[in-house]
Symmetry: C2
Subunit: 227 residues, 2 copies
């Protein structure tokens, strides 16, 4: 699970995680205004920690804040999503290239086993995309870890870039892309096993481009049906 639920730590941290979760899962709608007093009461805390949490989320780009006018959940329009996937392609491509030389054989083997479990899960419960999405993010995160670049890990990992998970949730309803995605993951692992960084980067970039293409089409359909 990438969703950390540290019921320990400061209240601000707890609030940040709970809010992040609510936003990512869509429980809090995009563009929705966040009332400090109301949220503070719901979480059973004062407004101080909550405001700190909102600052944190602002840094994560999960909310936008306007002085004296409150904070709102970010809205992911097409352009924003496109920008995100563009950056992601560059960063994850880089992560893959580095991982090809930095990961241990053991780690790559673990990665392969992760895909095995993943495949089994798909066979068992075809529709359960939810867990797929989680597992997929795990896959990507493991590669980010394999890059040994802390900055990259932060950006692609838990802290930053919850936005990614947000798009996933938003678009994981009818993601029929699980099988080709798994296939691509396998290819990437194969490239890692061969220690071929260039190939691994290429494959990862294609993989993400494919994901964006798929999501982009889904948005088109939504807009059509909405119009």
């Amino acid at each position: 699970m990438l969703i950390k639920v540290p019921e320990q730590g400061t209240l601000a941290d707890v609030a940040a995680h709970r809010l992040a979760h609510s936003i990512v899962t869509g429980e809090l709608a995009q563009g929705q205004k966040l009332n400090e007093a109301e949220l503070a009461e719901r979480f059973g805390m004062g407004r101080g920690p909550l405001r700190e949490a909102l600052r944190h989320l602002e840094g994560m780009r999960l909310v936008t804040r306007i002085p004296n006018a409150g904070t709102r959940v970010v809205v992911l329009d097409r352009k924003t999503l496109s920008d995100i996937y563009g950056v992601r392609e560059a960063l994850e491509g880089m992560a893959c290239r580095l991982a090809a030389t930095q990961m241990s054989d053991e780690e790559i083997s673990q990665l392969s086993k992760l895909l095995d479990r993943h495949e089994e899960q798909i066979k068992k419960e075809g529709g359960k995309i939810y867990s797929q999405s989680e597992g997929d993010l795990d896959f990507h995160y493991q590669i980010a870890r394999g890059s040994r670049n802390q900055m990259l890990m932060d950006m692609l990992g838990s802290e930053q870039y919850q936005l990614l998970r947000m798009c996933r949730y938003r678009t994981s309803r009818k993601a029929a892309r699980t099988k080709p995605a798994l296939q691509q993951h396998r290819q990437i692992v194969a490239a890692l096993e061969q220690r071929d960084g260039e190939l691994a980067e290429l494959l990862m970039r294609r993989h993400i481009q494919g994901a964006w293409k798929s999501i982009s089409e889904m948005i088109d359909k939504e807009e059509e049906s909405a119009a």
Copy 2:
């Protein structure tokens, strides 16, 4: 100037900017503990806004925070700097590639003029690296803007990645690299004028690799003299 000084807005915003400036310029030493009450008094505000500011800086990775143990200025060791420059190479390379197709002729022309002013400045006051560093960051930021990718702009621009400015300050003392850097900037602009994204990316990546190499050697010397 990239240093925004919004003496308007909330106190927390003001504090965040002042603190960021102090950290980037080294006024607050790396690893230094930040006492909330003391800072609050120095800035003439309560601890509430200051804590919000610290949360903000934490998101920028300018400080690290440990619950119940306070926040400290981040320490830029060699590995961290290396990681930053790695990520920067990927992101700015991408920005360059996009800018080659997205920037208007007018913008590219402006960029060229920026380099003219830059060159003049170098001739006039050879040693004044400070302004060079600012101008250089302006150059890079303009290209990030040219990519038309908001996420990229945020990451490379003012908000995120003040860390970069921090390394600059830390290493801009004896940066004899201004001339070759300017030359490389010119080459990049030339590539943009030719709308050659691939070349622009290649040149930018080399440019950043060169910068890292220079800084890396500088660190080596420092460590030698320290040892």
